[in-house]
């Protein structure tokens, strides 16, 4: 019997390992036989949302496939903190090629498995938001439109954190980054910019698109399991707070992620073949300010007279997405 040193996380109803649940409903993370694909000792920062998400995603994928997973990793924090030669945190077959080609490399791996009669081996590609929405978008769109048999997971920390917190195409409006400082009358990252990759993925009519956050690990694991039960191109977009880049407390990573969904700024949903199939309703809606105030990247909106106009504009964004995805809490409205 395989035994794995196990840590239990018992902080609130959504946390992994909740002992109030029946054994069948417990998370992969809380089970003795979890794969522990990413071992401890890697170099991620304290409170890293990406490290948490990657471990949960990989272990769930291992569970879902009976351990038949290989992974392709784009350049970025995850790659750097997990494989400083001669060490590797990965207990699964892992390939890093370049920043912008993870999707194409994964397509090649999947084609190789099929051509060599090993298509029981499943391919999971991982990248940050830069490697997904910006430099990797060409290859990713190609992988989508060919419907290659790959699950592509984007760990979205809303910027180029590995290179020192610069703006990406996934950085939210109003955020201060090393390349969008709120100098003078500036608001930080400009409004009217950026792209929504889950919706772009949906536009390719691929079998499965989902969003998730590290605030709900049950939901994240369930979506990985759904994705791995299907073939073809699948996309999972996971919001992963970055204490370094967002200026949030390391202990607040899960809390910040939860406020992102509760404020409506990060809608959690699933889509199949281009159609929205499920959206997770917000249980307790909060104003965006509650989310923004925990992060120094938004502190210029609250210093002195602050920028109520900017906060209102962000609230309007959240309201728009709540309406678009039907996220409004049922007891309100």
């Amino acid at each position: 019997m395989t035994t794995t040193p196990l840590k239990l996380y018992q902080v609130g109803t959504f946390a992994a390992g909740n002992r109030l649940l029946g054994p069948g409903e417990r998370t992969v993370q809380s089970s003795m036989d979890r794969a522990s694909c990413i071992t401890s000792g890697h170099r991620a920062c304290r409170g890293c949302g990406e490290a948490l998400a990657a471990r949960v995603v990989m272990d769930a994928a291992m569970r879902a496939t009976g351990g038949r997973v290989v992974t392709v990793n784009a350049t970025g924090c995850l790659e750097v903190f997990s494989t400083p030669y001669p060490e590797s945190a990965w207990q699964v077959p892992w390939l890093h090629s370049l920043f912008g080609n993870a999707a194409a490399v994964a397509s090649g791996v999947a084609a190789a498995m099929r051509a060599t009669g090993r298509d029981d081996v499943r391919v999971l590609a991982q990248a940050g938001d830069g490697g997904t929405v910006d430099i990797g978008l060409g290859c990713l769109s190609g992988m989508f439109e060919r419907n290659d048999d790959v699950l592509f997971v984007c760990y979205d920390n809303q910027g180029y954190m590995n290179t020192g917190v610069q703006r990406s195409g996934a950085t939210p409006a109003g955020a201060s980054t090393a390349t969008t400082r709120p100098v003078g009358d500036g608001v930080g990252n400009a409004f009217g910019t950026g792209k929504n990759l889950p919706r772009i993925a949906m536009a390719h009519d691929i079998p499965y698109v989902a969003t998730a956050t590290v605030a709900d690990l049950h939901d994240l694991e369930a979506k990985v399991a759904i994705a791995m039960a299907r073939r073809g191109a699948r996309y999972l977009h996971v919001l992963v707070p970055c204490p370094l880049g967002w200026g949030s407390q390391p202990a607040d990573t899960v809390r910040v992620a939860r406020l992102a969904t509760q404020s409506g700024l990060f809608p959690v949903f699933e889509a199949e073949n281009g159609m929205l199939t499920h959206a997770t309703p917000i249980r307790r809606r909060v104003p965006v300010e509650e989310y923004l105030r925990l992060q120094t990247r938004f502190q210029h909106l609250f210093v002195g007279p602050g920028r109520p106009d900017v906060v209102a504009a962000l609230q309007a964004q959240a309201d728009r997405d709540i309406a678009r995805f039907g996220l409004a809490p049922e007891e309100e409205s």
Binding site: V70, V92, H96, A104, R146
Partner: protein
Amino acid sequence: MLRQLEGSRAVAETVARCRPHVVAAYPISPQTHIVEALSDLVAAGQLAPCQYLLVESEFGALSACIGASAAGARAYTATSSQGLLFMAEALPNASGLGLPMVMTVANRALGAPINIWNDHSDAMSQRDAGWLILFASSNQEAVDLHVQAFALAERLSLPVMVCMDGFVLTHAVEEIDVPDQAQVDAYLPAFRPRQQLDPDDPVTIGAMVGPEAFTEVKYLMAQRQLRALDVVTEVADTFATAFGRDSGGLLRPYRTEDADVVVVAQGSVLGSLADVVDDLRETGVAAGALGVTCYRPWPWDAVRRALLGIPRVIVVNRAVAVGSGSILGQDVRLSAPAGTTVSDVVLGLGGRPVTRDGLRRLVLDVLAGRLDGEALTYYDVDRERVAVELARELGDAAPTSGARP
């Protein structure tokens, strides 16, 4: 069996007989006929279980080959010119990760100005990417080099580029012997990857290496490249035994013994050059030709030995290092024995024809001292035309330079 075939078709059929598992390609002239023919063969089920990925770019094509090779599959792609440059980031990645694969480069000029015709600017620009780079002198050799390339790549665990002149070879129809399946199967063993992505034996490929080990990794890569020189020779020898014809190897010397002048070149120009050498020999000029088949790794010793005792060497460069000079010529100069005079000539850029007459005139001009010493000579440039343009450019600069009348 000899058949009348287009070079591209012959290469496609040959690649098919090497049984690739994964082909990933993006169309670009003049590579297109190769990937079209392969797509037909795949569609007809002749390559099953080969997977053909119609990717969104050359960067995607090479990236898919990287993934396929790392997963233990025999991978193939083809490109030209801008496509090769679009792959540029992935080229040293494939070689650095030690991933065997084969790529045809249908050689074409690099823009700007955009130009679809043949020269060697594309492959020569990637000479330091860590790939083996082989140049075919004919369509028959292009066919043969592809079979050898898979053998080389997999023996060395390195990627191999097979260069064939765009249009001049790719679109030329001539008699070619495409090895039959049984011959290729007997020559080319099944691919046994040194390392592969396998859930039963997990490995980490592509880790980050810092200053404490990076130099050592690079040193070992360089050593493996140098060792490849012996393997290139061995593979060509075994090919000659199995197929009964000489193809590949490091160099292709033609009547260089006792030569007073030897022209060094790459690619299809070597065919014309052999005729010119014959003509010159008949008129009493002791000329010879030296084809460079294996351009990377550079066959330093072989070139030096081939040029020993040759007083005058002319290098035909079909690519230029702007701001520096020749490319092939620089390599030849490094290897030329002391006392050899090297004339560096640029010829046939962007599809300008390299004719027998032109080559013959070139040799006679060099021997008569009509070329400008050892400097780089743009032999077929329209001197009147560039003089006019130069005068205009220098004239434009006059107001700011202040010194020019």
